[in-house]
């Protein structure tokens, strides 16, 4: 034993290939998708949201006079095709004034979702730009921008939106803009925090040591990981914006009846609460569906995009 060393025994030739990994290559995004699909509620949320979006986009288009008044139809029962053979999709019947309640609901859903997504787009854009600049530059730039964020946060959001609407009138675009420019602060903080920590990350330092330009470092190494929390925040932001718009319209500061949103429907329904309480029901259900679906989706994305949640190889 004493004079034998570890490696002087003739080695049995070992088949080198047994160590080669034969599993399929999985990229970060493939893994994220796999984790997302495992999150059941998130998948349900995504499907619900997709169905709502498609229905809201398609139904008012295929049905002629989707939101029009037709007194002759007052309190008519549910029907899919009317007496003349036109597609009407009046799944929920007609109101006192003869409005097709289902198509009206879908048109309102379209308006609400449109406001929600458009506002989030503005929020993400402003938030990412300000957060990225503050986080990448650091120092006094960061200090100044963060004080701006503090000031923006300290202002009462709802009040500003109402003032906005009062000044420029209650169009759908004013509302989107108003929600957008009052809601970006959280997104900016998220991106900034992410950038600050990524700036010190070893792989960012390595890229810098290789001589990569700041542009490349931001676009290639910092923005993609910073986007993960942004995508999560955005999906939650859609729900928030939809609810905020509904609240505005419900209070009467929102868009008028010509382009009704779910909030407008609720506002109208509230007037008839004593006589026709069921009117409140349908817009409320859709609103709740949107909020729940967006929240589940956000949860699922959070889990899917978190690299700590590893999916082991087989």
């Amino acid at each position: 034993m004493a004079d034998r060393t570890y490696d002087d025994v003739t080695q049995v030739p070992v088949d080198d290939t047994e160590d080669i990994d034969r599993t399929e290559v999985r990229s970060y995004w493939q893994l994220a998708r796999r984790r997302f699909v495992r999150h059941r509620l998130a998948v349900i949320g995504a499907i619900t949201l997709a169905v709502l979006i498609v229905a809201a986009a398609v139904v008012p288009l295929v049905v002629e006079n989707a939101t029009g008044v037709s007194i002759s139809k007052s309190f008519a029962p549910a029907e899919i095709v009317d007496d003349e053979g036109n597609l009407v999709l009046a799944l929920l019947g007609y109101s006192r004034t003869g409005i097709n309640m289902f198509t009206q609901l879908m048109a309102a859903t379209a308006t609400s979702l449109m406001i929600g997504f458009a506002a989030v787009l503005i929020i993400v854009f402003i938030g990412v730009v300000i957060g990225a600049v503050a986080g990448y530059a650091g120092g006094w730039v960061d200090n100044v921008l963060m004080r701006v964020v503090d000031i923006a946060l300290s202002m009462p959001g709802l009040f500003i939106i109402i003032a906005f609407v009062a000044f420029w009138g209650a169009s759908i675009w004013t509302i989107i803009l108003a929600i957008g420019i009052t809601g970006w602060t959280t997104a900016a903080r998220l991106v900034r925090a992410e950038f600050l920590s990524l700036r010190e990350a070893d792989y960012v330092q390595a890229a810098r040591a290789l001589g990569a330009s700041p542009r490349r470092i931001i676009l290639r190494h910092m923005l993609p990981p910073a986007l993960a929390p942004i995508i999560v925040a955005a999906s939650l932001g859609v729900a928030d914006s939809v609810v905020l718009e509904a609240a505005l319209s419900f209070l009467g500061f929102g868009i008028g009846a010509e382009q009704a949103s779910l909030g407008t429907l609720l506002n109208v329904a509230f007037e008839y609460l004593n006589r026709e309480p069921y009117l409140v029901l349908f817009p409320s259900i859709v609103l709740i569906l949107i909020v729940l679906a967006a929240n589940f989706l956000g949860d699922g994305m959070r889990d899917a995009l978190d690299p700590r949640q590893r999916v082991e190889q087989q």
């Binding site: 049995v12 047994e18 999916v311």
Partner: protein, 354 residues
Amino acid sequence: MTTVSRSVGPLLEIQGLKTHFFTQDGTVRAVDGVSFQIGHAKTLGVVGESGCGKSITSLSVMRLIERPGKIVEGSIKLNGEDLLEKSDEEMRDIRGDQVSMIFQEPMTSLNPVFTCGEQISEAVQQHTAASRREGMDRAVEMLSLVGIPDAKRRAREYPHQLSGGMRQRVMIAMALSTDPDLLIADEPTTALDVTIQAQILELMRDLREKNRMAIMLITHDLGVVAEMADEVVVMYAGKVVERGDVRTIFGNPHHPYTQGLLHSIPRLDERVDRLEVIKGTVPSPYNLPAGCLFKRRCPFRMPICDVAPPMRQIGEEHTSRCWLTPAGEPPEVGADPTPEEAEAAGEQLTVEPR
């Protein structure tokens, strides 16, 4: 209550312990048939690389395995009583009283909102009939025992006010405050600098003498083991691959993995041109080789290695999970069971020789 069986048998006896994790991707046999004992007031070093199951073994002894993990088989006898048959309540009394544990990162195992003194006092009160005041006195006494200067003042400080070395001392003070028979130390010095590590190791050696306490020292640092342990258990991929007296393991290792580990570390006192290496990496727990778990990396690989080797007697108090003869030679044809024979013998062969 612990004094009754003190003189009879080993302090801790683990027999055929299997702790498996049931994940979505399959079963991970983190600990797969581990057996060893620790005698009274002895120090056992458990050595292995990350993922070899050494920490899971210690958590199993503490019964701190959480889902998706489960202890599926085996027995863990402390002073002759099987811990796996205890109720959760009984186990809570045993933890911190008869067995204590210290972890690698003391910051995460200390509660940040209580002072160090309060935490030690709490542990004392839980296991003895001590009052709050007595608990606090004991805390101060323990803190000065582990070499914390100005213990009275330190007892009133919060964990974040202390340095890493000091926190590890507080952890040790807390673990020892109830005078346990067995201290499980899971990488107790890995997060510390070498000069601080030297302080902590000296403290542990010192307290081991004073308290007549057994230590199960889990580490990847062979230097720490050589310095602290009486006996050594080497683990690889969930199994014990070699076991013996510390001098035997370091002076005359039998298992190719143990040999490889010892030869691959750079040493201060011996300068070599090239380090010996163990080729390859630890196999994925989802893709363990059939037969000997080390065969893909082993320079001695033989056809018989496709059959899982049992723990075999190499010398007195020295066992190894390898088909090589005690002298380290490949087994002669016919001297050992053929693969077919061994396979037929199956379970019987993997029983540890007593």
